[in-house]
């Protein structure tokens, strides 16, 4: 079962002025099929944690296992979605989506069909042959999501995927993502700096603290799925949001003094 386990993950960034401890002893288990969001102040090591899980960055100590297997380098089993879309600008939408399948050696016809399916899923059917530069930000991110889904990863790692989008597009993308997720229940680790987004999407919100980067609190979100607009306005939601907000913005004062 594809769960993600972080075991005492530590990551230093060496520099001449001495090492910088970006992550210190992070242990976290994301259960199979769970949707976990990670929030925390800027620079607390969220991206570092995600990149270690993706295999794009080595842990200095500790390990990450996905589906019981230790992570050693990137693999298509762990889909990653970046904030900056990272679409290949010289490829059309469908060529972008087919890239991972091509790497995997999937035949042309099968590739086409699979790409068509996920492109339809994210609602870009009319833009299959468009170049990324002609797409809006939301469309680019939907294309990136389609590209990640095309190779059918066991888990999804998303690093502030909606960070560059306007508020309205953002809400739409959240609902679309939840809808897809509730159909296939893929394990998701989702980084955001938006407290609202963190609570709305997650079954648990992981709040990190900085210097050194570590887990500060974990807030369980006991709202049922599917999440609805009414839930966003409910008292329970407001309460959860306040809890997360306090955990993010009122971290222990000694550390706050450190980080400023």
């Amino acid at each position: 079962m594809p769960s993600i386990e972080f075991n005492e993950v530590r990551r230093d960034f060496g520099s001449r002025a001495g090492g910088f401890l970006a992550l210190d002893g992070v242990s976290l288990t994301i259960e199979d099929g769970e949707f976990v969001t990670v929030v925390g102040p800027s620079g607390c090591g969220k991206s570092t944690l995600l990149n270690v899980a993706a295999g794009l960055l080595d842990a200095t100590a500790g390990s990450v296992t996905v589906d019981g297997e230790e992570v050693r380098g990137p693999s298509p089993e762990r889909g990653v979605i970046f904030q900056q879309y990272a679409l290949f600008p010289w490829m059309t939408v469908s060529q972008n989506v087919e890239f991972g399948l091509k790497v995997a050696g999937v035949g042309r016809a099968e590739r086409r069909a699979a790409a068509r399916r996920v492109i339809d899923m994210v609602g870009l059917a009319d833009f299959a042959d468009a170049l990324p530069k002609t797409l809006s930000g939301g469309m680019k991110q939907r294309c990136a999501i389609a590209r990640a889904y095309a190779v059918d990863p066991k888990v999804l790692l998303m690093d502030e995927p909606f960070g560059a989008l306007d508020a309205l597009t953002r809400v739409r993308m959240q609902d679309a993502l939840l809808e897809t997720w509730s159909r296939d229940r893929r394990t998701v680790m989702f980084i955001t700096h938006d407290v609202d987004e963190a609570v709305y999407l997650a079954s648990r919100v992981v709040v990190m603290a900085a210097r050194p980067g570590r887990i500060h609190r974990i807030v369980p979100v006991d709202l049922p799925y599917p999440r609805t607009e009414e839930m966003r306005l409910s008292a329970e939601f407001a309460d959860l949001r306040r809890q997360v907000w306090n955990a993010v913005y009122h971290q222990p004062s000694t550390l706050e003094g450190n980080s400023s």
Partner: protein
């Protein structure tokens, strides 16, 4: 990569128009309005083009006037457009102009093709393997500071007076300009694109051929353009110094006989051919890298 870029090109124009699907869907009656907007935009573009063409024409006319004024201002032997034109016609009819052009172009293209063919892989190797970069870069920086022409005397002593030394310096000029920008292109490839390819399972070869090469192609094409400019400038200068044929050689001969019209013809030929080659590469650049977001 080339095939993709070319086949993608047609999507460029229409993409702009259909960018907003919501608007098209929400207002079914808006089709005619959009048409009207489109034709207005086209009309504006046409006016703009017409204006630019007119301005170019004005610029040419102004140049001609300046030339005629200069010719009548009594500078010793300064030829007017008419005498230059008739000399140009004469040289063309005799076949001298075309022979010279052929000789110069042959040298330039030989040196240029060898230079860029070597520069592209070397630039890639430098960008991809830090060791190669450390080994090559000092020499590159050094030779970039030496004008290729300054190598000519040495090249003639070492390689004789035939075509080889001239082709060699052209090769050097083209190689040096192109290798630097290829290398720059490789090191400035967006690392998240490389990450994106890796998390989709791409290995080193795929990352290189599928991401690094296309992502750096705009830089390479710019380098090739600069290289061609450098090569053309170098061939003319090299022919001024040591050649028995070519546009530069003819100009040098004309100088011996105070034949100013011929010098003008050569000058105009050199400029025109250089410009034509540059435009050709610019066109190729636009076709191949139309996918770029230009700001």
């Amino acid at each position: 990569m080339r095939r993709q870029a070319v086949s993608a090109a047609p999507a460029r124009g229409p993409g702009q128009v259909k960018e907003d699907p919501e608007r098209a869907r929400k207002a079914p009656g808006s089709a005619s309005r959009e048409d009207a907007e489109g034709s207005a935009a086209r009309r504006a573009a046409r006016t703009q083009r017409l204006r630019n063409a007119l301005l170019s024409l004005c610029s040419a006319a102004l140049g001609l006037v300046v030339w005629i004024v200069l010719a009548h201002s009594g500078i010793q032997g300064f030829p007017g457009p008419a005498s230059v034109l008739s000399r140009g016609w004469q040289l063309l009819r005799d076949g001298v102009l075309l022979d010279d052009l052929g000789a110069s172009l042959r040298r330039v293209l030989t040196g240029y093709v060898i230079g860029t063919a070597l520069a592209v892989p070397v630039g890639f190797a430098m960008g991809w393997y830090p060791v190669v970069r450390r080994l090559i870069e000092p020499w590159l920086q050094f030779f970039r500071m030496v004008p290729p022409l300054a190598v000519i005397p040495l090249a003639i002593v070492l390689m004789g007076i035939g075509e080889t030394p001239k082709i060699f310096v052209i090769f050097l000029a083209a190689f040096l300009s192109c290798v630097v920008s290829t290398f720059q292109g490789v090191v400035s490839v967006d690392p998240t694109l490389v990450s994106a390819a890796r998390v989709l399972g791409a290995g080193d070869a795929r990352v290189f051929l599928g991401v690094v090469v296309p992502a750096s192609s705009p830089f390479i094409l710019v380098g090739m353009r600069i290289g061609l400019g450098a090569a053309w400038a170098t061939v003319v200068a090299a022919e001024l110094i040591a050649a028995q044929s070519g546009l530069g050689f003819r100009m040098q001969q004309a100088q011996l006989y105070y034949d100013l019209p011929t010098m003008f013809v050569q000058l105009i030929a050199i400029g025109t051919v250089g410009l034509a080659m540059d435009r050709l590469l610019l066109l190729a650049e636009h076709r191949l890298t139309g996918w770029q977001e230009r700001r």
